[in-house]
């Protein structure tokens, strides 16, 4: 579904990604973790071309991103993305947030779009908030709406960029719950997150990044299994994030 | 287009520019002084003072500068005659200057007020704790701090005033624009002189605003 081939990226002279390669298969859930500044957010933003890269290629569902002929808006419409700071559109009601891209990008009718939006709102447990505005919702609720908004586009894959980092601790759970359900439903997911509990519960694979490189890329059981087989950096990271 | 007549006309244009700059300098000095007084009144705890200043500011901010210039041109001689009882010739320069000072004071007042309000309350408390009177606090601590902060805004407003001085054309004062216009008419090349005047205004205010921007950057670092 996603194949990342030797991607390198520089900001001026500073190299943020170095020769990153990996694959995400259909239906797979891959968790990307690593210390801050390791390039994990940058990498995931390359997958839907929000961040340009200078070397390598990424192919999403058969479409090459490096190919200058690729219609990027069209590609992005098929890739769902959830941001750290939600990024709901504050001037639009919840319903409008869920329907605007369906109508303007996919060309769906208003009724069909609203129908779809409300169904997804139901799925994230917020059907009763449809007429409110983002500013009237809690952070956790906003993030659940943001997930529904991305799902409304019928994406072939979902990208999560630290979806729980900006949330108060008591709201992390409600968002993870939605993500777990999504994983169980068979959605292809690539998630940048520090929530190792989530990784243990649903991830197929874990990627560990440090200083712009993919240091570890293994199955969940390998990653959490024999710590002595892990790189020293990964061990230090796990030591910090895992509860003792 | 034939700009060859301009060099010969430069001395008289320079005279016009001197008048423009006089209006600018006195206008800014008087405007900032009156504006600061108004700002202190607006921030005073006495409701009469602050309302009075508020009324002044709102009044001048809601009417066109050109109206003020025209009105003062008509009215100042009248009023002076009323006061002194005899004809006191004041001339267009004085009436225009009074108009600029009073009009711009309303705008400078708002800048100074915002500047004073941007100084943390703790500064006032600290100054008072040292035994200073209200007046001393303002003069020695708050105003020096505030003026440093708002220098770029005051300069920007002065650039606007520089451009606005051209409105004295309406009462026939020979400022830079008007001397360029009349020179151009006499020589028969009004277009060339007008374009030249526009260029000079542009070069002066553009470079001034570049300097202000640089100053602003240095103040924020």
């Amino acid at each position: 579904m996603i194949s990342i081939k030797s991607v390198s990226k520089w900001y001026g002279d500073f190299q943020v990604l170095t020769d990153c390669s990996t694959e995400v298969d259909k239906g797979e859930v891959v968790v990307v973790c690593g210390p801050s500044g390791s390039g994990k957010s940058t990498l995931i933003k390359c997958v839907n071309a929000l961040e340009p890269f200078q070397k390598g290629d990424i192919v999403v569902d058969g479409t090459s991103i490096a190919d200058p002929k690729t219609d990027l808006p069209k590609l992005r419409a098929r890739v769902g993305m959830v941001f750290q700071s939600f990024e709901l559109f504050p001037h639009l009601s919840i319903t409008e947030n869920l329907t605007i891209a369906q109508i303007k990008v996919l060309g769906r009718g208003k009724e069909e779009a609203t129908d779809k939006g409300l169904k997804l709102l139901e799925r994230v447990g917020l059907r009763d908030q449809a007429l409110k505005y983002p500013g009237q919702l809690s952070g956790g609720q906003q993030q659940r709406v943001a997930i529904a908004r991305a799902l409304a586009m019928d994406p072939v894959v979902m990208l999560f960029d630290e979806p729980t980092s900006a949330l108060d601790p008591e709201m992390v759970h409600e968002v993870l719950e939605v993500m777990v359900k999504l994983a169980h439903a068979g959605m292809t997911m690539m998630c940048v997150t520090h929530e190792m509990g989530f990784a243990r519960q649903v991830a197929n694979r874990v990627i560990f990044m440090d200083q712009g490189r993919i240091v570890e890329d293994c199955t969940k059981d390998e990653f959490f299994g024999d710590l002595s087989a892990r790189s020293e950096r990964a061990r230090r990271f796990l030591d910090l994030v895992l509860p003792h | 287009m034939d700009f060859s007549a301009i060099p010969a006309a430069l001395p008289s244009l320079l005279e016009g520019m001197l008048l423009t700059l006089q209006l600018l300098v006195f206008g800014v000095a008087g405007g900032v002084a009156l504006g600061t007084v108004l700002a202190m009144m607006r921030l005073a705890h006495a409701p009469l003072l602050s309302n009075l200043a508020g009324l002044y500011v709102n009044y001048f901010r809601s009417i066109p500068l050109l109206l003020v210039i025209t009105w003062f041109y008509f009215a100042v001689p009248f009023i002076l005659r009323g006061i002194t009882g005899e004809d006191t010739p004041v001339g267009a320069f004085t009436s225009c200057l009074v108009a600029f000072v009073m009009f711009e004071a309303a705008y400078f007042c708002e800048i100074v007020r915002a500047g004073i309000q941007s100084i943390p309350k703790g500064q006032m408390a600290a100054a008072q704790a040292l035994g200073m009177t209200y007046g001393q606090c303002m003069r020695l601590v708050i105003l020096p701090l505030a003026f440093r902060k708002m220098t770029p805004l005051l300069l920007q407003q002065s650039i606007i005033l520089f451009q606005d001085t051209s409105l004295v054309y309406s009462v026939g004062l020979m400022d830079f624009l008007n001397s360029a216009r009349s020179r151009g008419d006499i020589i028969g090349q009004p277009h060339e002189f007008l374009i030249f005047a526009g260029l000079v205004y542009f070069v002066l205010s553009f470079s001034a605003s570049l300097l202000v921007k640089r100053l602003q950057k240095r103040l924020t670092v």
Binding site: H91, V105 | P64, L66, L67
Partner: protein, 248 residues
């Protein structure tokens, strides 16, 4: 003091036809409003376009918009008006030039010059406000819109501009008020708007204090009512859940 106060002067005959002085003021107010509103339409449309150009990721587009802003901001309004009124007609192709100078009645040609001048002058200011509004939005908003597959025009149309305009209503209001005040320069090319009518009344009737007082009052009331109107607009488009629009 040998000044004859007479507040009833506005209802006296001007000596021209059966007009009273108040008629002059009303006619002047009519011109002032017509000038300001027509120029505002130009300023808002062109200013928004330029404001967008200043923020798009394209050097040429933002360079053009920046140049425009610097030129129109650094030349006095009156100089610009003289250029539009005295110079530009001479540069037009001959049929247009003749039409402007001979076929149009003088008031119409002055009106056109002032509207174009004020519109383009104010557009530079509107541009800066629109740019500030767009740049004040969190970067993630544009990224989120891109991630959903919006094209660049769609991002501006549906996500950035609706939010930016809400933020900049207060500064736009003051530009809107400025255009009414700035329209007084029209009196200097002979258009009989409010200030010109005031001057004329002062000269004809010799009651200059009354005339200027009434003019001031009209501008003051106009200013206040426009401000209240814009406050109403701001309230009407305010988004529930945001503390105060532009308060961030």
């Amino acid at each position: 003091m040998n000044y004859n106060w007479d507040w009833g002067v506005f209802f006296k005959s001007t000596g021209i036809g059966d007009e009273i002085y108040l008629d002059w003021f009303l006619a002047g107010l009519g011109w002032t409003i017509a000038l300001a509103l027509s120029a505002w339409i130009i300023a808002l449309l062109l200013g928004s376009l330029l404001g967008v150009l200043r923020t798009v990721p394209n050097r040429w587009a933002s360079g053009i918009a920046t140049t425009y802003v610097e030129i129109f901001r650094n030349v006095p309004l009156l100089v610009q008006l003289f250029l539009w009124y005295f110079l530009v007609p001479d540069l037009l192709p001959e049929p247009l030039e003749l039409w402007f100078k001979q076929d149009l009645n003088p008031a119409t040609s002055a009106y056109l010059s002032v509207v174009v001048c004020l519109g383009l002058f104010t557009a530079a200011r509107v541009c800066e406000q629109v740019r500030t509004g767009i740049q004040a939005l969190p970067k993630g908003q544009a990224a989120a819109a891109r991630a959903m597959g919006f094209t660049l025009p769609q991002i501006y149309r549906y996500v950035l501009l609706p939010q930016a305009f809400r933020i900049i209503i207060p500064p736009l209001t003051s530009e809107f008020l400025n255009i009414f005040k700035n329209s007084a320069v029209a009196s200097l090319i002979g258009l009989m708007e409010l200030l010109a009518q005031t001057k004329q009344t002062a000269e004809f009737s010799a009651n200059l204090f009354e005339a200027f007082t009434l003019a001031t009052l009209i501008y003051f009331v106009l200013n206040m009512s426009l401000m209240l109107f814009m406050r109403g607009v701001e309230k009407k488009v305010a988004v529930p859940g945001l503390m105060s629009v532009g308060g961030k």
